[in-house]
């Protein structure tokens, strides 16, 4: 591949190669404070490539490949090359990660304890993670939380925070000094802008935390809160995990332990201020 960069996010090393300079330059800029893969050997490879040589220059379309691929994924325009790289890294995790139980969740940490938030797309995971980071929580990630089956600890995966549509303005207001990526308009998920995790999140990304609270947030409802039964938590988390089945008994045991030991709450919220107050109240009541 013509252009290459390597980086480590949490415990996972990546090598990203591209037929174009732009996506690699964007990664190198936004991930400039991240370390290299351990011993220079990445866990996963991502390829951003043109399906035909002339498509490098003529109506360039970025195809996403790698060690693990999903057939039939549509290419992205070159202007969204950074998004393609991020999607490529997420795809390797979702399809290839076997060391940790993956939960599609955002995670923040305070005092060595982790708050995990999971829910469908649009529930507000990324926004809440960004806002909690603005209030001094350590960001562990807005996409995947990694549960170590051997220890039960949560490992962070603090890649760029992917903010969508209205969340972009909300985060910019809360974090005026933060670094943001380019505004990517017209993506399959609307307008996207990436937020670089703060220095504390990057410095501590190798430090795991004890899971302390599981939240299932839902945006767009009157403020409310309820306990969630372990059976429901278990089913929701199996659905939120891309590799639960692949991990077989290790995955089941890790998930069952998590459900048994960590309290779970569902919260409904009409606006982010309400959600943040709910989080702080639940956290202090632990």
């Amino acid at each position: 591949m013509r252009h290459v960069t390597q980086l480590r996010i949490g415990p996972v090393g990546f090598r990203v190669g591209s037929d174009w300079r732009q996506p690699i330059a964007a990664l190198q800029d936004l991930y400039r404070d991240y370390p290299a893969p351990e011993d220079g050997i990445p866990d996963f490879n991502v390829h951003l490539f043109a399906a035909r040589p002339w498509r490098r220059v003529l109506r360039p379309a970025v195809h996403i490949g790698g060690d693990f691929v999903m057939p039939g994924a549509a290419p992205l325009p070159l202007a969204q090359g950074l998004l393609a790289a991020e999607m490529g890294m997420n795809l390797q995790m979702a399809l290839g990660q076997r060391r940790y139980l993956l939960l599609h969740a955002s995670a923040v940490e305070r005092g060595g304890k982790a708050l995990l938030m999971t829910g469908l797309s649009g529930a507000g995971k990324s926004t809440l993670a960004a806002l909690l980071m603005a209030r001094g929580w350590r960001l562990m990630g807005d996409e995947f939380a990694l549960i170590d089956p051997d220890t039960g600890l949560v490992h962070g995966f603090p890649r760029l925070i992917s903010l969508k549509n209205e969340a972009i303005r909300v985060a910019q207001r809360a974090l005026p000094k933060a670094r943001f990526g380019p505004l990517l308009e017209g993506t399959p998920k609307g307008t996207i802008r990436h937020l670089v995790p703060d220095a504390a999140a990057i410095a501590a990304m190798a430090r795991p935390a004890v899971p302390a609270l599981l939240l299932f947030p839902s945006f767009g409802f009157e403020a409310g809160e309820r306990e969630v039964l372990p059976s429901e938590v278990f089913v929701r988390l199996t659905q939120a995990s891309t590799n639960y089945v692949a991990l077989t008994e290790r995955g089941f045991t890790a998930l069952a332990d998590l459900v048994r030991t960590v309290p779970a709450r569902a919260i409904d919220y009409p606006d982010t201020a309400t959600a943040l107050a709910q989080v702080e109240r639940l956290w202090s009541a632990l």
Partner: protein
């Protein structure tokens, strides 16, 4: 050195990996994944001193292979249960047979679909029994479906609606359009019991099938894995009876080529008669090793040539032309 050669070297001589640079390790792992040999590599290098990230990746690969083994054996058992009531014995082929028989070729092997062999006369019954047990047709395309039924050595692939696993039901081991017609009745008659109501081909027939799969059918994609199967089978069983059996099936040239390539690439202990080397063999080797340091296929022209060769072996010229035009109009591009 190409990445393909890097992988062959690591499988053949695990100590050769001592002192690999980080870039070489990265390339080795990428191509092992691309060739679906990462699990095999995981077992071959088990216990070797390797860098920490490599140790973790190979550990995961062993775990995945172990899970794949369990799933493959379960799928075989499901097929057995589906076909037992109609009295059709399930003869396992390829990877599932290797793990069911506990062969070294099955250690760490990635296993995709379940491949089974049933008598041609009973293929309709087998299909009906599988459909009744929850398998469904995959190919929505009428041309593909008709093509399979008329010309192929297997039913159109079926997938199980709950387990999401594919089954290929063969009635012989090469397409009916190919010039070579292996003796399917002999394959079935000489199959051996696995001790669990499942069966597999006799050792020489397993080798004939592996060689046919590699050199008489298809374009050699995934060839390093198939050749590794052959290496392990020969190391475990030897080649007794192989010569005659290959002649019976019309597969003597394919078997001879498989032996020469296995000997050359993996150092397989094959009899003297199978140790030659031709200019054509060099071309095959060139094709087998065509990977770059990212695990991506290289040597586009070589691959295209083998793609065309694969199809030319499968069917007569006029039929091939018709088939390729139909496929091309449906938007299929070669390799």
């Amino acid at each position: 050195m190409t990445s393909g050669a890097l992988l062959v070297g690591a499988l053949r001589e695990p100590v050769s990996t001592i002192g690999l640079s980080p870039a070489q390790w990265t390339a080795l792992l990428a191509i092992a994944r691309a060739e679906q040999l990462i699990g095999t590599l995981g077992y071959r290098l088990h216990g070797m001193p390797v860098p920490a990230p490599v140790a973790r990746i190979l550990e995961e690969a062993r775990h995945s292979a172990e899970q794949g083994r369990t799933a493959a054996l379960w799928e075989a058992e499901m097929a057995r249960r589906a076909l037992a009531p109609v009295g059709i014995a399930v003869i396992l082929l390829k990877g599932t047979a290797f793990v069911a028989a506990g062969l070294s070729a099955g250690v760490g092997r990635s296993i995709g679909d379940l491949d089974i062999l049933v008598p041609h006369a009973r293929i309709g019954e087998a299909e009906a029994a599988l459909l009744a047990a929850g398998w469904e047709w995959v190919k929505p395309d009428a041309y593909d479906d008709a093509y399979y039924r008329r010309w192929m050595h297997e039913l159109p692939p079926l997938i199980h609606r709950e387990r999401d696993r594919m089954i290929d039901v063969h009635h012989t081991i090469l397409p009916l359009t190919a010039r070579i017609t292996p003796d399917a009745e002999a394959l079935i008659a000489d199959s051996v019991a696995l001790g669990s109501e499942l069966r597999m081909l006799s050792p020489p027939d397993v080798l004939c099938h592996a060689a046919a799969h590699l050199f008489a059918d298809g374009d050699l994609a995934g060839g390093l894995r198939n050749l590794w199967d052959i290496h392990c089978l020969v190391e475990e069983w030897g080649t007794a009876g192989l010569h005659d059996r290959a002649r019976l099936h019309g597969l003597a040239p394919a078997v001879a080529r498989a032996m020469r390539q296995a000997h050359r690439l993996y150092g397989t202990a094959v009899p003297e008669e199978w140790r030659g080397w031709t200019t054509q063999d060099a071309l095959y080797r060139h094709r087998l090793l065509a990977r770059d340091g990212w695990g991506r296929p290289t040597r586009r022209l070589t691959r295209l040539a083998f793609y065309m060769r694969g199809h030319a072996l499968r069917m007569p010229p006029a039929m091939l032309a018709r088939h390729l035009v139909t496929k091309w109009r449906k938007g299929h591009a070669p390799g």
